[in-house]
Amino acid sequence: MRTFDYARADTPEAAVAGFAQTGTRFIAGGTNLLDLMKLQIETPTRLVDISRLPLADIEEREDGGLTIGALVPNSDLAADKRVIAKYEMLSRALLAGASGQLRNKATTGGNLLQRTRCNYFYDTAAPCNKRAPGTGCAAIGGFNRIMAVLGTSDHCIASHPSDMAVAMRALDATLVTLRAEGGQRRIPIAEFHLPPGDTPHIETVLQPGELITHIELPPPPAGRQIYRKVRDRASYAFALVSVAGAVSVEDGRIASATLAFGGLGVMPWRDPAVERALIGQAPGSPAFEAAADALLAPAKGHGSNDFKIPLARRTLISCLRHLTGTSL
């Protein structure tokens, strides 16, 4: 049997202190980690259970934002009245993910760290640089319908599967962590996830033993909000393409825009060029097409996922129409 030690932490400090050994992992809801352990894709020798830490509250901040504990279940976050009122895209993104049962277990911190759904990552007989660095990438030249078209490298084309993280990216969330050696760190979500490059097994800037304790949301962006998830079935399917965003219009011009994308990128994707193409422009097809051009200029299909490029264009334009109240 593959045995591992299990310890339940009572305080965040105790949790990070438990990381002295290598091969240690935190376990929160376990909805991702346990699946991966059963298939021996992750093989920790020690689990530190953080699920009972007092990090399950949502608090209002003085600046009008929210501080969300890393252990707030996805269901609770989606149903929070303040989230629904001010961060509609976040609530919608959460409800678009997984299933009711999974959302009850899944945590805010765990969701940000969930690993790719690349089919070959799950198949220990297949080459995969993310799972087994240096073995190659079976998705390139294979079945890659769900893989990324933005930010890929010759070493890995896996997409980031989270819905919640896409909304967090559009909302400019900041992660607050407790480091293994003690002391807090604040990581803007823009700097949190890493592109695969030639080290696809390194997915975030989190250091071993570093615990996410909170996620801070700044005050909500101006304008209407949206989370649109395009998927193969009505529920319980990862995004082919998703768009999280808010756009405000003043005096017939787009005054502000924040847009992030799921299903397309190797990480929750946001490209300032998209927003630049919109701000100051009159809402309408020329600006929307320009935004789509900006988003998709660097996109590269790998065969079975080529369709994501036109699908993303259509979805983005439709979302922008909705956000600005512009009809065809």
């Binding site: 049997m1 593959r2 045995t3 059963k38 021996q40 299933s99 759904r117 089919n119 070959y120 799950y122 198949d123 220990t124 007989a125 297949a126 079976a138 030249g141 294979g142 079945f143 319908r145 769900i146 395009v230 998927r231 193969d232 079935r233 009505a234 529920s235 319980y236 399917a237 082919l240 393409v241 369709f307 036109p310 699908l311 259509r314 979805t315 334009i317 439709s318 129409r321 065809l328």
Partner: protein
Amino acid sequence: MSEYQMNEKHAGMALDRGVQGVLGQPISRIDGLAKVTGTATYGLEHRIDNLAYGVAITAPIGKGRVTAIDTEAARRMPGVIDIIAGEASIPRETPVFGQKSAHGYDGKVESYGEIVGVAIADCFEAARAAAMAVVVTCVAEPGRFDIRDGEADAESPPEGALLPDTVIGDIDKAMGEAEVTLDVTYTTPPQVHAAMEPHGTIASWEGDRLTIRAPVQIVGGAIPVIAATLGIVAENIRVLTPYIGGGFGGKTMSADIILAAVAAKRTGRTVKVPLSRQQIFHVTYGRSDTIQRVRLGADRAGKLSAVGQDSLVGQKAGASQFFEPVALGAVALYAGANRSFTTRTAQVNLTARGPVRAPGEAVGMIGMECAMDEMAAKLGLDPIAFRKANEPEVDPSTGSPFSSRRLIECYDEGARRFGWADRRKRREGDWLIGHGMATASRVNFLAKSAARVRLGADGRALIETDMTDLGTGTYTILAQVAGESLGLPIGSVDVHLGDSDFPTGAGSGGSFGAASSASSVALACEDVVVELARRMGADPADMTLKDGHAISGNRRVSLAELVGGSPIEGMGTIQPGSTGQAFSQSTHGAHFAEIGVNAVTGEIRVRRMLAVFDCGRVLNHKTARSQAIGGMIWGIGYALHEHAVVDTRTGAYVNRDLAEYHVPTNADVPQIEAYFVEEIDRHANPVGAKGLGEAGISGAAAVVANAIHDACGVRVRDFPITADKLLEGLPPV
């Protein structure tokens, strides 16, 4: 002992004279409470002391040879009892329906993930870790991982095949002469079973006697295969399978039965071998992909002169002579003098292909019914009118009369209920709304089935047969048949199923289970009724049985009193006979659907579905409806979701779990209705029911496809229909 062979129409029986009023009633499953409270024990759930666990060890190549199996490290792991690997006793995969025994390990690999051994340990986790620690070294060879690879030497149906090739007249000539023609190719992908309850076995030996607890849908069919593979006599095998969590054709046999028996023999323990979901994809059989060329030729009025469906399917080399009989539903469906219904089977290196709910029709009616829709549009005819214009008087391929066929009523009743005449293609916000219809047809079978009915001193009846209940409602309908025949309330009938010590029933498969086993129970009840009448001193035909009493003339005597100290036992056996050939027998139906296609993204959402079936006598309106809508929902899956993707570099299924192998979720299932036009089909079997377990899926994927085409104008011929295949045809955003 009442035996009846269906050589002629059955004249009616105690069941028909019954006045209890339970037959046909929408009675909830009598095993429902046990199931929802968890007391219905499924195969893998039995708690047995001192159980050992086995996990299969598999080869990670699609074709080639195993050169070494290193079990050293695995043997040293804690809890490991033994590892059996690289021996001929290890079954490489599940023997398919029609295969006499499992292929034993011989170093060759013919499809991805074949079994090479089993790791046995004190707990499941230890066995799994040991199985994964075994190093299987292979040399891969190029394989045929696509049915097209085997097209050149594809084989025609063997002698005696369920669906022989049917070629009548000259279809090429007729196509040349027809005023309007359609010649299109439809494809459907490989599909897998993946029933809710995974495959798995608990095996134990007592001396030479083997007991198997596993989901086995046709007990009498599995036992000879187990016996032949293990080299033991069938009499020494007992199979217990009282509850099955979905069978659908996928549980006629499974490799884990053999693995568990081998492991139990070797270790002297009772061994449980569950298959993982990923293993189920590769070592149990699925449904072949199909390439279907459909040809239709007609005059301008819509009278067909040419009808053809010629297909290429695949089978694992050396597995079985079973092939997906694509044209089974279409061969007797529409008139037309020139006909071609042929199947070629390509030998491939893919997991064996076996029966999956409605072999033939489930995928074959996609090609035929979508083509009929295309042809109706070409002709400018309403799709129902076009079908009615080609409704045959007799089976157009064999010339035999139909045992019963009320398809026209299904069309009319369905159209009325659905509001077909008032349908309106439209756009609602981003959604393009369209409608479609399609025909359902599923061939009807009867299988030999026996049952024992014993009326006890307490006035309760006990039914015993090794017939199975896959979740379909067998327990309930058999209780209803006995209740109606013997005049007993449902609560006074006990039903024991799925034990090979009982009389051999038909088992569940091919939609023959309900009619065959119900007929055997009805026949067994005949014996009981004759004896009751004798004890009453009455003629059976003049005796009324109701609420546990026999009534004759002015006497009313309780059954318990009539039984007294000597229980009455009846044995009923139904045998198929010449009516099977003399009459063309099928269940028919008409599907209707309303669909939304998202004009921006191409996402497809079914909004409502309705179908009407002509299925003979309905034994229980609730379980019948469940069968019908279950099939219809599966049809949504075949239209929109199911696709076991093969990586043609390795022969492996890429999406081998239920997160990525999509089936419909609740949110994908719309308002859904099923209705029946009833008729007692006396040519089919004594109870007069026709098969319903598979009729619902026949045509159900086609109706979705036809409505998609109506909604957005895109005709997709390669299934499943996913958003990406519609994108190009959608309006600009």
